[in-house]
Amino acid sequence: MKNTSFHLKLITRDRTLIDGDYAFAVIPSGAGPLGVLPGHTSLMGTLNAGLLVLRDSEKKETPVFVDRGFFMIANDAITVTARVAELAAVIDVDRATAARDRARQRLNSKDSAFDMFRARSALNRAEARLKVAQSMN
């Protein structure tokens, strides 16, 4: 019989944030969003800063912001390790907005004192966070 769900574990350095069965997931992989259904082929890859969506058998969705991580799919078990993982419900929108504006300002300024690579990744991070937060509303 074909499985109707897979097990997903989201681990950060401080805790296991998610450990449960889901029917569908969208993983923000390095090569773009990746939809995963049960029975997916074995795969390992990098994560982009972005939105991880988990849908359980009752179609209830859990959006999570993840950054700096990796994922592995094997035998209907998915392991996601991330340095940063926040449930959308706890994202601090004000802080993310401030971070986005600051990063934009730095990118626009011609001052080379700022590390452009860092500013750009900060901008990506902040935008991804805000997108996740907005997906809740």
Partner: protein, 291 residues
Amino acid sequence: MPASPRDILRRIRGIKSTQQITKAMEMVSAVKLTRVRNQAENARGYVDAMGRMVRILCTTAGDSEHELFREREQNTILLIVLTSDRGLCGTFNTSVINAVEAFRQEHAGKNITFMCIGRKGAEALARTGASIEEALDTPWGTAISKEVERINYNALGAFEARRYDAVYLLYSRFENVLVYKPTVVQHLPVPRLSAEEAKSLAKWAVDFLLEPNFDALANALIPQYLETQLHYALVESLASEYAARMVAMRNANDNAEEVIGELNLSYNKARQATITRDLIDIIGGVEALNG
């Protein structure tokens, strides 16, 4: 001459004030231990998961092997030693230093350079004339991540530049409050799988798709894994240190209790002796008057 009651009282007071310090230190260590112990337990799941990914990646490598997996003849070695900054923690530091000696004997004839995290290790190694590349105090709190990142980055750079053929970690692994074991882990090159491990993983690790490709994934994953491993070692070492200090202070406390008990006894005896002596004097005087 037996000590006067007043001298004994003074000693009791002295020991009591020492006991207050050891009691406070025990409590502080207990609180800090709970904190780092949680951190260590959580980090263990993370480091295990990352380790599994790295090992699977290693099985998929086939012929194209990554530089960080490749063994070289180990002539120059960097040993990262984790000890505490402060003493009063029983045999914690001594056992690590003993393990360093064992490591040196095992790798006799090799050129070993040390990096010390924790002042006690640096002091002990400096006395033996070891070549120390860097010595720093144990980071704490938010400084941990930053320091770990920097140390890992430097170690990777030195390994890739072939300044070292191998990097090892030596830290105390926390087992429980009474047991901690100095443990040596090969940090770089990333240890290959044993034949058994490879076999058990190969059963389901065949046909793994890698995204974007082996090299890119390895270049991203392995440094992160190593950083995680270093972070984990540091937290474990801290947990062991606080456990050791807590136990040492509890023992000191118990000993103080015992000494105070004995001193109380001698104080009472000495006090009784003076009373008896005074009574004999008085009675003697009265007898003499009556006589």
